[in-house]
């Protein structure tokens, strides 16, 4: 019974940790601009991250190798370096965007300058990481992030147009480049690679063995599946409330208004609280993902299961990551714009990290009996193609739409 409870608690944390600033921005903007037309893109992204995370978690549980360990080992030094540099770059943009998101939300709670809150937010996150064990970090942000379900409640409360919703499940072949830009954005926002680096390194931190494969599968199916509902909730609520009114949620604060429009101040506070912890948690995950990548590539001791001084180069790496992210923010770049770039560029780098995982997950020498089964094999390759197409289309669409500006 205790074991079941443990499993459930982990999955609940995975649900709350699913959404980050990229999902908040792209889902609400998609709903506000295209109503229900882009509903179909959400499950494509959600199934993709489920497949990718399931493979990474399985590889980590069976071989004890997290993602960058596999990349270094399977792709060698030179290609590994290219992947490392590309990943660190997009990760850094993500860290900056997430810290920016935290600062914006804090600004809505208390009236003070953005830069002050960026600094305070980053310092608070550093303090939380420094003093909290790995599991505590995951759960703290995951659980409070669940208040984001207020947006699902809003979507249902506003009486969604199920007929339109159904029509949105089918892609529209004739649509504009802005439409396709949002398709790319929605899929990429769900498939942010830092989530997977964090997830697989976390599996090694928690000492997963093949007996944890059930948890891994449940995380992928239920955790990400229900997490995906949050994305849909944001899109549908935005389609109900923002699209008819012609409101463009260009500011992150506008997203929280969805809660207020349906449930007044309680809705607003719940929405903001969920956003704060979801984005804050993502800042931590992205920052750790960067430090994990460097440490695993170079073979340094890493992990939160060590005290900060027990893995000093790893500790220094995540501290530097926070500092660099903060520096990018201080240039005055708009965090929402930064988010769009980080999401779209992430998907360009995604095939580089997805492919080596796919190679290991199907390699019997390493995986033994836990090698990819027929479902994982077919879906794994299918999504490799999807990711390649999305990655190839991302930059042209970013340029054609002037960064989503239309």
């Amino acid at each position: 019974m205790k074991a079941i409870l443990q499993i459930a608690l982990g999955i609940i944390a995975a649900i709350g940790g699913f959404v980050d600033i990229g999902d908040l921005v792209f889902n609400t903007q998609a709903g506000a601009t295209f109503g229900y037309d882009l509903v179909w893109a959400v499950p494509i992204g959600v199934v993709g991250i489920g497949i990718y995370a399931e493979m990474c978690g399985r590889v980590a549980a069976v071989t004890k190798r997290p993602v960058f360990d596999v990349i270094r080992m399977r792709m060698g030094l030179s290609i590994g370096l290219v992947v490392l540099v590309a990943s660190l770059f997009v990760n850094l943009l993500t860290v900056a965007a997430e810290i920016g998101g935290v600062a914006i939300v804090l600004q809505l709670f208390f009236d003070a300058p953005f830069t002050l809150f960026a600094l305070l937010g980053a310092l608070a996150l550093v303090a939380i990481i420094w003093f909290t064990p790995f599991e505590g970090i995951e759960r703290l942000f995951g659980y409070v992030g669940l208040t984001l379900f207020v947006f699902v409640a809003v979507a249902l409360h506003e009486g969604p147009d199920w007929h339109e919703f159904g029509r949105g499940l089918v892609p529209d072949a004739k649509s504009s480049s802005l439409y396709w830009y949002f398709v790319i954005g929605l899929i990429s926002a769900a498939l942010m690679p830092y989530e997977v680096y964090f997830y697989s390194s976390g599996a090694v931190e928690e000492g997963w063995t093949p007996s944890d494969l059930l948890v891994n599968r449940l995380n992928a199916v239920i955790g990400y599946g229900i997490g995906g509902l949050l994305s849909l909730g944001l899109m549908v609520a935005s389609a109900q409330l923002f699209e008819p009114a012609g409101i463009e949620p260009d500011h992150l604060g506008t997203v929280a208004l969805l809660g207020q429009l349906s449930y007044g101040e309680t809705g607003l506070v719940l929405g903001l609280l969920g956003m704060l912890f979801a984005i804050g948690g993502a800042a931590v995950d992205a920052c750790f993902a960067g430090a994990y990548s460097v440490a695993q590539f170079a073979g340094w001791e890493w992990g939160k299961y060590r005290r900060p001084s027990g893995a000093p180069r790893f500790t220094l790496a995540w501290l530097v990551f926070f500092a660099l992210g903060l520096t990018i923010l201080m240039t005055g770049i708009d965090p929402v714009e930064l988010t769009e770039y980080s999401v779209v560029l992430s998907v360009v780098a995604l095939p580089l990290t997805y492919f080596p995982i796919l190679l290991i997950a199907r390699d019997r020498t390493y995986m033994g009996e836990h090698v990819n089964g027929p479902i994982a094999r077919v879906l794994g390759w299918l999504y490799f193609v999807v990711i390649l197409v999305v990655a190839a289309a991302a930059i042209p669409l970013l340029l054609a739409t002037n960064g989503g500006g239309g």
């Binding site: 004890k64 340094w300 001791e301």
Partner: protein, 120 residues
């Protein structure tokens, strides 16, 4: 472990772990001993950023040397005698401790300031 295995597939780029389970570098290169025509023996594993530059494509070596440094034995590249290797499995496991093999120097320097902090 098997007495016959593929050097690049199984050994190169793998994680080195000491007897306490501490990660202490990757197999960035290997040193073979023996003249052509004679038997070849695995002399040592080489680990450290100084070993990166010779492994990247020729055109990028100058840049890599600038970024990661030259091969300076005992500083940027550490030699792990093959006799110190206990097993090659998921990781390359050593008989000794990283400290005693000279593999923990960079970590030790950084360790002190962190140790002084509360919670560090």
């Amino acid at each position: 472990m098997e007495d016959r295995f593929e050097l690049v597939y199984r050994l190169l780029d793998d994680q080195v772990v000491d007897v306490d389970g501490r990660r202490c570098g990757r197999v960035d290169d290997v040193e073979l001993i023996g003249a052509p025509g004679g038997p070849l023996e695995l002399g040592a594993l080489l680990t450290g950023r100084g070993a990166y530059a010779p492994r990247v494509p020729r055109r990028l070596r100058r840049l890599a040397r600038r970024l990661f440094g030259d091969d300076v034995r005992g500083a940027t590249v550490h030699r792990i005698p093959w006799s110190q290797v206990e097993d090659v499995g998921v990781t390359v496991r050593l008989f000794g401790r990283a400290e005693d093999l000279g593999l923990a120097r960079d970590d030790r320097e950084l360790q002190r300031p962190f140790e002084r902090m509360p919670g560090g």
